[in-house]
Amino acid sequence: MGRRTTKLLSGLVVLALAGAGGSWWLTKPAPWDDGHWEGLGEPDLANGEQVFWAGGCVSCHAAPGAQDDARLVLSGGRALKSAFGTFHVPNISPDESAGIGDWTLAEFGNAMTRGVGQNGEHLYPSFPYGSYARMTAKDINDLWGYLQTLPKSTNVAPPHDLPFPYNIRLALGGWKLLFFSDEPRVEVNTADAKLARGQYLVEGPGHCGECHTPRNALGGFETGRWLAGAPNPEGEGRIPNITPGSKSVGSWSASDIASYLETGFTPDFDSVGGSMVDVQKNLARLSPPDREAIAAYLKALPPL
């Protein structure tokens, strides 16, 4: 190797390190300031339970195949296949070692709304913090309180099984830089309290867009296609368009939508299917006004 080449190479290494330093600064995990999680007081457990069902925690964190009360044991263990590899859902029961029983409210809140783990690491967006980012500190506090009341599990899920380069957590900072946002996904008339509530539930805890909005090759949402339907991430078939422009549900009235979310029956008495079965079971636990708010928001979306 000539002297010149060596010089050139060291120059490149210095540049790369400087670039890495700059990107590190731009893409490092960004939890909230501690004050965000202070002064929230005793959690309202009844509201925490409602947030729990709106957030659909059990759909991924209950043991695979668990039914009824067994779904409240958030032992993890479900494998989520994706284009980026297989994610193994962790135990989030209150067990101190296998679960998240030894976490603080701030650690839980930063995981939920900033995708930052207990050790300050980036979390994978298979955990839908990109939606939960919109949740209020009060709702997080209430949910955290409710989760403490659930049974403990000692199950330990295997680590994620991801090929290079998706196994590099640092790179998730770049993903966040490109795609993470806690801004509204669409504009609706938020002076209308019902629409504002619907927007909060759908875009925030309900995380509906995670399946119903198509993604680009890097897993970010396709802009301008909010809730317009997407390929089924778990295999064949499609996740339907749920905007008023949808061929399948566009003609449903707001009360048709609310009734479907409550009973699982479509207006022509077909039934809920696919992964929506779990979601509907969860949403059936919400208050009727919350289901009506979701329906009102969906009817107010830009038709696509």
Binding site: G229, N232, E236, G237, R238, I239, P240, N241, S246, K247, S248, T263, G264, F265, D268, F269, D270, S271, V272, G273, G274, S275, V277, D278, Q280
Partner: protein, 148 residues
């Protein structure tokens, strides 16, 4: 004259036969059967929601329709009918035919049991529909694929 009318009728009947060929395909038959079940569930829902008055005859007829229809429903999934005619049947049906049949049988059994007890009022019909709806979705969760 009579012969001509007869020939015309025969020709029309022939046309009719051509027109129903697609409807005889298993994909179309099973879609029709599901619609029948849906219609019966709709009749029960009308009562459960209080949109229609309670009527024991309608409850009986609807539960009978559901119980009898799902008995024959899983027989309409022969090899070769996996695709086509906008079928929403998942390939998993053919991979797990026994489980698929068991799920259909569960709906049939539940409908028969409810028929024997016969829900006596609006609330009873609502409770019955809750049981049946769970059977519908537990099968559709795995074995139906939405294409839109």
């Amino acid at each position: 004259m009579k012969i001509r009318a007869f020939m015309l009728a025969a020709a029309l009947a022939g046309l009719g036969v051509t027109a129903v060929t697609a409807a005889d395909e298993p994909q179309a038959v099973r879609q029709q059967l599901m619609k029948k079940v849906g219609k019966a569930a709709g009749a029960l829902s009308g009562i459960a929601k209080g949109e229609k008055p309670y009527d024991a005859e309608i409850v009986k007829a609807s539960l009978t329709t559901i119980s009898e229809t799902v008995k024959i429903f899983p027989t309409h999934f022969p090899a070769g009918s996996e695709t086509g005619l906008e079928t929403e049947a998942s390939p998993k049906i053919w991979e797990n035919m026994d489980d698929f049949k068991a799920k259909a049988a569960k709906l049939g059994t539940d409908a028969s049991t409810l028929l024997a007890q016969l829900p006596a009022d609006k609330a009873g019909v609502g409770a019955a529909l809750g049981i049946l709806g769970k059977d519908c979705s537990s099968c559709h969760e795995t074995y139906r694929l939405k294409k839109d």
